[in-house]
Amino acid sequence: MKLIHVLSEALRAMLANPLRTMLTMLGIIIGIASVVLMLAVGDGIKLFIDKQLSVLGSNLVIVQADSRKAVGARLRTGTVQTITLDDAEAINRLPSVKGAAPMLTTYSQISYGNDNTNTQVQGTTPISFAIRNLRLAKGIGLSEVDIASASRVAVLGKKVAEQLFYKNDPIGQTIRIDNQSFQVIGVLDNEGQSFDSGDIGEVVMVPISTARVTLIRTATPRTVQYVVVQSKTTEGLNDMVADIYDLMRDRHRIRAEEPDDFRVVNFGEFAKTGEAIATGLSIALGFVGAVSLVVGGIGIMNIMLVSVTERTREIGIRMAIGARPSDVLWQFLIEAVAICLVSGIIGVALSAGVASAVSSTGKFEMAIGAKAVGIAVVFSCIVGIFFGFYPARRASKLQPVECLRYE
């Protein structure tokens, strides 16, 4: 018997009792949808983390003041100013450090002509561009000369540039930041969320020296809010963090029994937490999927056994006119597999719907990949073969004369 013939027989049998077929398929549909979503969530979170890291640059930590810990006589509350440009420079000189960028940030009103917007302004140094993977769509970045001379220049995030200039070229134009004039020298190419400033497209970057003079009042002329530090290697990240602790405690003259007055935030840890959450969610969905597939499979087996009984006479007729036991076995096995495959396809469609609904919120991107579809197809077939085999075998072992007597 040819496969197309067996398939069309399977389809005919499925359509003979559509409601029952539908109900039978439900377990497999949910099972396959869960498995596919499990993979999509895992992939989505990985994608999300990778994207974060590519915006962040990888192997980054932030060193910032920690006033909660800086108690006691050494510092009066309110005058915390533990991180300075000199700290940043000292960190930058550590052998394990690739670069350390001091940061001063504030929210300011940016305007050009009649258009204005409120967004984050970051005062920083050229090192920032290198260690945070910042690329320029147009123009140039900040230079050491800009820092030294506190020049009034600005590099715009992509979205800020679009908001103020539409499709016009912003390079060389003068914008106002908190009513101070700045000349636009570059536009960033990066997109996505960054750890310290939200959407990287909505950031304006200026020399840290200029920021201090024009935009941000600091407790002392050398105070910075935080320092972004990148290690030379991924493996060296933890050693680098230890080096920073030693250096900072030494520089701040913190005695052994005293707590730190700063902290080091490791974004690699965030990524790990994210991955752990993803794994947890995947395991939960995988469990739901596995349970649904087993329950669904038992449902298939049950309905196939009922179907074999109901069609006993049909089996007898087929055997009388020449169906071999193997023909009968294939007929029922293919029917079970077909039910599972159709369920699998519906399950994939269902999960694709869920994924696109989740993606459309814009917070999390979920994609159903070819791998997930492949796995769904393979899993449906396995469930169909596993749970369809026993009923099919039973049908094939029936005696033609008894089947023909069956009413």
Binding site: M1, K2, I4, H5, R12, A16, R313, E314, I317, R318, M319, A320, I321, G322, A323, R324, P325, S326, D327, Q399, P400, V401, L404
Partner: protein, 259 residues
């Protein structure tokens, strides 16, 4: 087609059963039904099997149709030792050698008339399109060519039985087995079906074994086999057998009257 033509022309008896016995077992209790039957049938013969209800006619037909196995005894069908065949080989043997016509038609629901007739060819490994065109030809021959796309339940009993006959003939098997094919039909339709079988036997030399209750139906056959309690009571020309049958019946009713 080639296979069955070779079978048709092969020498020797088409059907040869020797001392066939059959017992049914339920809860280890043996119920003997056939007590040693010997029948030989040549190609082109038309045999009617008669006997009272429960005399073992259907049991014998199931054995002849390779649907059931005898408890003891030998069966050669078209030169093949049936007892030595596996289940799969028996299926192929049925497919190539026997066409079944049942009392209750036994067409498959949810399948068009054409697909029903084509199914034996599908099991014989013939392609879908070739099966369909041969099935259509066969339907045309039994006069139902126009109903090919109908579902079986949209047809009258007589039409369904014609479809079943078309299905039985489609692989051109050497032997047709019909167990009370007119049992569910009225007299006029029965006569049509018998005329069709008669024509097949006369014009194509189709071998037929037919079970019936009715002497009028049996009268179409060349030869009569009468069973009684699992034994052959008569085996010979139909005309002579039917005459004896009438005499027996008269004696039986006379003795009933006298009691």
């Amino acid at each position: 087609m080639m296979d069955s033509m070779i079978v048709h022309s092969a020498a020797g008896a088409l059907v040869e059963i020797t001392d066939v016995r059959k017992s049914y077992f339920s809860n280890r209790v043996e119920t003997p039904v056939l007590h040693g039957i010997n029948v030989t049938m040549q190609r082109g013969d038309f045999v009617a099997v008669m006997g009272q209800s429960g005399s073992g006619k259907s049991t014998l037909m199931n054995i002849l149709g390779c649907l059931d196995t005898p408890t003891s005894g030998a069966y050669r069908l078209a030169g093949v030792d049936v007892g030595a065949q596996s289940r799969a080989e028996l299926a192929t043997l049925r497919n190539r050698t026997i066409g079944f016509v049942f009392q209750s038609f036994n067409l498959l629901k949810r399948m068009s008339v054409l697909d029903n007739v084509a199914l034996p060819l599908i099991y014989a490994g013939v392609s879908r399109s070739a099966s369909r065109s041969r099935a259509q030809t066969q339907l045309d021959k039994v006069g139902l060519g126009e109903l090919a796309s109908r579902q079986p339940n949209q047809l009258s009993g007589g039409q369904q039985q014609r479809v079943a006959i078309a299905r039985a003939l489609v692989v051109d098997p050497p032997l047709i087995l019909a167990d009370e094919p007119t049992g569910n039909l009225d007299t006029r339709t029965s006569n049509d079906i018998m005329a069709l079988l008669n024509e097949l036997n006369r014009e194509r030399g189709q071998s037929i074994i037919l079970v019936t209750h009715e002497p009028d139906i049996a009268a179409h056959a060349k030869r009569l086999v009468r069973l009684k309690d699992g034994l052959v009571l008569y085996d010979g020309p139909a005309a002579e057998g039917l005459r004896q049958l009438r005499t027996d019946d008269n004696t039986a009713s006379a003795s009933e009257v006298s009691q």
